[in-house]
Symmetry: C2
Subunit: 552 residues, 2 copies
């Protein structure tokens, strides 16, 4: 039975996609509610029929909630706070939660202090948005087209099998097997390295290649999308993923590891022009960068959900694993319960605090430095692709123009000069082109690396906030004991746990530092190498132009 | 007796020069009117006493007229026009003037046509100011400080002997002797070269060095000025000249040769900051360029007045020569009477016209081309000395800043990276400086040469205007004969004279072309050579910076 719906937001149809443009407040008639993939078919007052995103209309039922970024699950510690869906499970399992000591006191006066970030500290005044700085988008001159949502929710399950490989030789129950390797009960090893606590690194580092973007379609060709081929070095078997699956993985990783490990955002989403070659290439490059960074992280890369993403066998395996991952209870601060610092003494709380402050200062300072470099780089990019080549072009034209004037003189024997002047002019036009193209060859990678680090660094305020909150709690433990809110034994346990958290943070910082050194060494080398080539080529071109003038 | 005066214009005192700042409309009291050199001593209402330029105040007498550029003496042909001082002598000597044929008809209806530039032609609508383009000043970013008058009129005679050499071995009567070598009756030889008519070039080309600017003073140290040492290669004996003497020479050359030979303007005059080192250096460089160009010209360099300037023996010789030069009657179009085309047939009037049109087109086109290059060069100059080095500096700072953040990490073993990053940052700061300094090393000379040519080309419209007027007159000769205004013999003479003028113009164009080829070859080589060095140095610096990063 057809019924009407109210349009909640403006929606602009993409040409050639059977979509219908609608405006906020408009009333439309639903002609087919069973299109699937987050779409409905509707007719407007002018009788035009087309697809409209389900979420954009009020159908008399609650619109499907968009997959917004999961906030850091600090409410885990606070039984008073209304429990969001993702934390419900954590709370129901408090009974056997080794970190429940923090939660058993949730009804006390301190629970909010614990959950909230401490006031008056550097990170205290900030939201999830890192350092309280204004939203710092990817510089316009440098990024691709406008940033919007990717495809609307459409179910993997509905699309034709276009990913994974279904060869029978791998057998059934992949997800279950992965669960055995790295289930929720798995412990994260933490070793003592030369630089202090370090994660346990696998012997062979996981890596993967994101390649071969292909246009797929569903709903009998009504909707189309891009699928990327992801091939891990462990199996060397490609699996296919759409951007929305990367986004799903990101949400899982953020939820699970976000308190302890910075999980950088995915590259920007966007709708318009998403089949444009340049955009797809750029997105693929950034997805590759993101995946490489995740692969490099020993904790993330060995996690069940990450392994599922890279090595699912078939649709069934993927769906089973997906459901399992979404039910994972070891999320938020629970991740610290799985960390086992081996052969290291417990840290005193002032040591924990000192380390935390140090990392906070460093990450803040680096965040500033990286943003500064990005600003400068962006301006340089604009100049190199804008006014500078135009100017070289004009110099080139002026030389060539003078050359043709000279040619018109009627004076004998100045062909050498006019030819040389023309050649010099063309050389400056070539230089103009080189200048305009150069940023893609060098500055681009410097910008990409710094953008990645901007993303990583943006995660630290939350991570550090969790630590600071834990530190505050431990520091108040004496009062809690005095007030008989906790036992002395529980106080000791709290201290031990803060120590574990600190070791985890130290391991993460050490991971961060070693990656940072590697990344900046590599990108600076690459940048300077290309810069040298650039200037050498210009010098060579000019030397050739110079040689064409007569020495008199 | 002291009396008051009204200030006509604002005048800002130069510090340390005993000057008094006054404002337009202010009433001042004259305390000493006999200072000389164009200055008076005055007291303002606040009782302050100092020197003020005589021309800036209304003393109840006409202010001394400034030495404006002499307009081209076309009125020579027109007895109806009020005769300016410089043409009076020409007219009184019409009796034995070989060009008097044009003048005997001055009372006829055509004399104004002859004197005026023809209407409807390209140059016809233009004044002395070349091509009718708006005044095209030296680009601001490129030139020195503001352009104004040089020192105020002060008499050479009043200053202490500070120039020339008074060794007795040269004997007396230098000016008279020079007159013997190249008097007003001397003929300018014109030969047939490979490219057509050419001036007769001396075996040894005259050259001179303008150097050693020295601050002199007069009026008992109240006023000071700069004196340049000019040393010709012929005598190798230095003479001293102030800017105003160069200016006097320019006026004489313009008056004498302006109808036939482009006499470019002197470098800009200016008052403020005239003792600033940079300004003096720049003016000297330009005076050198101007003198070199004049020396290169066979007709100009062998002229009596030019020889006087370079080789006067003492003050008396200078003064005698100066007076004689100022009385020279072979000025304006009279110069053509001294030209003797040798061994070449008379040109038909259509050939004369065709040549004239060709040169007009070429010089106009080159003028445009040169101005375009100057505009582009000026913008490039601004960018290279303004925003571009600032940007490189910021890149350098961003790298160094990141390096110090990294150093603060507390992570062991990243000294190689941080040192290399610092070095890379410093390299970009060095590059910033190189970029800012580079225009002085290459673009400067390209700009100077093009400025010189702009000046030269700006003289052609007048020269060509004289030719076009003569051509028009010849073309009307038939009518004049029919109206019995001239005889047939006179008509033939007119044709012959137009032919001579055309040969002179051709010789001048050939001189111009050969100089142009030489100058542009040289300056382009110099420019490109410095550009190559510049880019090679940058590449080398960056290669060194690159080598400091670890290859991992």
């Amino acid at each position: 039975m057809a019924y009407t719906a109210q349009v909640l937001y403006d929606f602009s149809a993409e040409p050639g996609n059977n979509e219908l443009s609608v405006r906020e407040g408009e009333t439309i008639t639903i002609t087919n509610q069973n299109i699937g993939g987050g779409w409905i078919e509707a007719r407007n007052s002018r009788g035009e029929v087309g697809l409209v995103p389900e979420d954009y209309v009020e159908l008399g039922k609650t619109p499907a909630a968009g997959g917004s970024t999961a906030p850091l699950d600090l409410t885990f510690f606070d039984s008073q706070a209304p429990a969001p869906a993702s934390t419900t499970q954590s709370q129901t399992s408090n009974g056997n939660d080794p970190w429940a000591v923090f939660d058993t006191n949730a009804s006390g006066g301190f629970s909010n202090n614990w959950a909230a970030q401490p006031e008056g500290t550097e990170t205290g005044k900030n939201s999830n948005n890192a350092w309280g700085s204004t939203s710092y988008g990817h510089p316009q001159a440098y990024q691709g087209p406008g940033v919007e949502d990717d495809e609307w929710d459409d179910e993997w399950d509905e699309r034709k099998s276009s990913g994974g490989y279904a060869e029978g030789d791998m057998g059934e129950g992949g997800a279950m097997n992965r669960g055995g390797v790295h289930g929720s009960s798995m412990k994260i090893a933490l070793n003592k390295g030369e630089v202090g606590p370090v994660w346990e690194y696998p012997e062979i580092q996981l890596d993967c290649v994101v390649a071969d973007p292909k246009k797929g379609s569903k709903m009998y060709g009504l909707k189309s999308y891009i699928e990327y081929q992801v091939t891990p070095n462990t199996t060397n078997k490609p699996v296919n993923h759409r951007y929305k699956h990367f986004d799903w993985l990101y949400e899982r990783l953020l939820e699970k590891f976000g308190s302890a490990i910075p999980i950088p955002c995915l590259p920007d989403k966007q709708v318009t022009g998403r089949f444009e070659e340049e955009f797809i290439k750029m997105r693929m490059e950034r997805l590759q960068g993101w995946m490489t960074r995740m692969c490099r992280h020993p904790v993330v890369s060995s996690s069940e959900v990450f392994q599922l993403f890279l090595t699912y066998k078939d649709e069934k395996d993927w769906k089973t694993g997906k459901r399992k991952a979404e039910k994972d209870e070891t999320v938020g601060v629970m991740i610290f319960s799985t960390i086992e610092p081996e052969g290291v003494p417990d840290l005193e709380i002032h040591e924990v605090e000192q380390k935390c402050e140090q990392f906070s200062r460093f990450t803040k300072a680096m965040d500033d430095g990286v943003k500064d470099l990005l600003t400068v780089g962006n301006e340089h990019w604009k100049r190199c692709t804008g006014p500078l080549p135009k100017e070289y072009q004009r110099i080139g034209k002026a030389f060539q123009n003078l050359s043709s004037v000279f040619t018109s003189s009627g004076y004998e024997g100045e062909a050498t000069l006019t030819d040389a002047l023309t050649a010099a002019g063309k050389t400056y036009e070539e230089i103009a082109q080189m200048v305009a193209e150069q940023p893609r060859k060098d500055l681009h990678f410097l910008m990409e690396t710094n953008n990645e680090y901007k993303g990583l660094l943006g995660c630290f305020p939350d991570t550090i906030g969790v630590h600071k909150a834990a530190i505050e709690k431990v520091k108040e433990a004496d009062k809690l004991v005095a007030a008989s809110k906790i036992t002395s034994a529980e106080k000791v346990t709290m201290g031990k746990r803060a120590s574990s958290m600190s070791y985890a943070l130290q391991a993460e910082m050490n991971h961060f530092h070693s990656n940072r050194i590697y990344d900046y060494n590599r990108v600076m080398q690459q940048y300077l190498e290309e810069q040298v080539k650039f200037y050498e080529t210009i010098a060579e071109k000019l030397r050739h132009a110079h040689s064409q003038f007569t020495t008199m």
